[in-house]
Amino acid sequence: MKTAVIVFPGSNCDRDIKVALEAATGTPSAMVWHADRTLPECDLIALPGGFSYGDYLRSGAIAANSPIMRAVVDAAKHGVRVLAICNGFQVATESGLLPGVLMPNASLKFVCKDVLLRVETAESEFTRNYSQGEVVRMPIAHRDGNYFAQGDELDSLEGDGLVAFRYCDERGQLSDDSNPNGSARNIAGIFNKERTILGMMPHPERLADTCLGGTDGKTMFDGLVTALA
């Protein structure tokens, strides 16, 4: 399974995702600079976390218009998988790969802590090694993670089973207390219609090794390898 990680000016989780992908796949990830116009052949593209362009104008807005993104959007249209994490999720919504928008956290604070997520569906290559309803732990670190879409868009996402993760408590119940940023319907991550693109605010790559304090994120990468190798 071949992977590529896009690096924007200000990305800071590109190395973390590279380490996690290489540990799972056993093959080196291609690190692709935002100003390049072509992608290497790959099965999965990662849009990493960070502060591309300093979050100027809107988080992910300028990165979404980088030269490489035309190739990424084109590759995604042809079925290449995309894993868009945190700033990567912001870039994905700004470039139209995923619906909705990530707004400033309702608290206006930068939130940096582990959260609990409920896996909404295991029917995807990203979540196949989890079970539906399973509660997992992953870290978040963001100021603009408040997922917003119009009501009918949210209904459509839910109706088509495209919500991947929701913020929850230890019993898997949704509540305002378990929602760290005010996201609509506690949504932490979503798929595109074909479930070939996953955008999520939490960082699976940051809890993918026992030396990082946990391996709930590793489950995602192992599942992807089984599906795509």
């Binding site: 104008l57 809107r58 807005a61 300028i62 218009n65 700004e94 909705g100 928008v101 707004m103 400033p104 956290n105 309702a106 608290s107 206006l108 917003f148 879409a149 119009q150 005010g182």
Partner: protein
């Protein structure tokens, strides 16, 4: 031509920054202040002398980059 663009949140979109500003104004002793909403203002020079063409290009710029039309409206003012 000089363009002045105001980008504002659509009605119904939560604006915690506006709320924070409103609270602060209250704490400073300014009363009767409601519905504070924060937006963005961008000004630029555009090398296009035809106002209709300029407006069309500016709208395209707003749709593509300057505004996120899921949550924002934009208003363009032009002066020669």
């Amino acid at each position: 031509m000089k363009a002045r663009i105001h980008i504002t949140l659509k009605n119904g979109v939560l604006d915690p920054q506006g709320k924070a500003i409103q609270s602060s104004l209250g704490a400073l002793g300014f009363f009767g202040i409601e519905n504070v909403r924060q937006g963005k203002y961008i000004e630029l020079d555009i090398a296009q002398s035809d106002p209709a063409k300029a407006k069309a290009e500016l709208s395209h710029m707003c749709e593509k980059l300057l505004a996120n039309t899921v949550i924002e409206n934009y208003a363009i003012d032009l002066e020669a």
